[in-house]
Amino acid sequence: MESLLHFDFKGLVIILMSAVLVNNYVLQRFLGICSFLGVSKKLDQATGMSLAVIFVMLLATAVTWPIQYYLLEPYGLGYMQTVLFILVIAALVQLVEIVIKKYIPALYSALGVYLPLITTNCAVLAVAILNVDSRYDFLASMVNSLGSGLGYFLAMVLFSGVRARMEDGETPAAFQDLPITLIAASIVSIAFFGFAGVIDKLFA
């Protein structure tokens, strides 16, 4: 781990772009699938949910990174990571919900409904753990979280468009609802393969 102030712009751009396109959380890594299938029916819900996820991911990383490096590792408590991270994230989401409800009602009316849904969203816990596993410094962790959140946003928004089209189609009875949605997700996921080489070529 390098110093906190180490600044490598190109490195950060690569982290951001790969998190958004190549290692897309939903379509390539299978994280946050429940909310992806549940909330992507309508564009406004998909947008609200994704913005809330980006917000919570950044917040969770900002809190769990110092916990990992200033509390868990110096005292040899690495095995408490899972317990501590999930508790901190759950408490944080509750706290943020209360605070923005009181002080920023406009933001609450836009995102408030989605916040409790996020506590048990695996994508948020995953981004906190993956940042530690990849040994990113603080800035890179934040950029990776932003990229992961944006990737989730991109997948949700794209897919809500696909689903709006699908509602007009005639689906065989057995395939209605979930099965056909999964098959559409599979096709959208193939589209993301196209990005695989882009990052290497751009920054080679």
């Binding site: 095995y79 989605y114 849904l117 065989p172 057995a174 979930l178 099965p179 999964l182 098959i183 599979s186």
Partner: protein
């Protein structure tokens, strides 16, 4: 309640993955190889059994208002134990499952069973339910992983399947194949149960800790439609 029925419910009739549609993330992610599916399934079964027993034993002590945080702490504790055991005795599986091992904490099957079964039933019944649901999860994962591994890499549990080695459909092992096989399996279950799967998925929703918020989402939506 009939004990045998409690045990077998999770295996087929209320299979958590294919009928209740819970735990979709790990099902899609680890079902690339049959051996991974068994590892993930057994790890989740152990956590589910322990958490069901503990939550059922404490169901009269835990106050209703703070039950979800209590469940999460209990589950996270058991997941940590399982994580350490797997790291110590099966490092290869640990490597393969990676991030999805700690993510058992947020697996909806476990919280869902706590909410729907363990906090209303006796310790013994909850243990049976935990085993049944856990094995149902393992079975569904194994079915998915077998299809993906046999046709995607031409092997099963790492052993070559004769005649398929030259005809791999590699995309089945990749992300799109996961979505596709899962979709087709649910459609198959739908066909066999004549649409029962969808109805049970609603029940699965009731057990989700986010159900209340999700309901609010639906209500907000309806209000908006009425205005329009």
């Amino acid at each position: 309640m009939n004990r045998l029925k409690v045990l077998t419910n999770g295996l087929i009739r209320e299979n958590p993955v294919l009928v209740l549609i819970l735990g979709t993330c790990p099902s899609l992610a680890v079902s690339t190889q049959a051996s991974n599916a068994i590892g993930m399934g057994l790890a989740a079964t152990v956590v589910l059994l322990c958490s069901n027993v503990a939550i059922s034993a404490l169901r009269k002590i835990i106050p209703d208002n703070v039950r979800i945080p209590c469940y999460i702490v209990l589950i996270a504790g058991f997941v940590t134990v399982v994580q350490m055991l797997v790291k110590a005795y099966a490092p290869a599986i640990d490597e393969q499952l990676g991030i999805f091992l700690p993510l058992i904490v947020v697996n909806c099957i476990i919280l869902g069973r706590a909410e729907m079964f363990a906090n209303k039933n006796t310790v013994f019944a909850s243990a049976l339910d935990g085993i049944g649901m856990g094995l149902g999860f393992t079975l569904a994962l194994l079915a998915m992983a077998s299809i993906r591994e046999v046709f995607g890499s031409g092997t099963w549990f790492g052993l070559a399947v004769p005649g398929l080695a030259g005809h791999k459909v590699s995309i089945l092992v990749l992300a799109p194949g996961g979505f596709f096989v899962y979709g087709v399996l649910i459609a198959l279950v739908n066909k066999l149960t004549k649409g029962k799967a969808g109805k049970n998925a609603e029940q699965g929703c009731a057990g989700c800790p986010a159900a209340a918020a999700c309901g609010r989402l639906g209500a907000a939506d309806e209000a908006k439609e009425r205005e329009a």
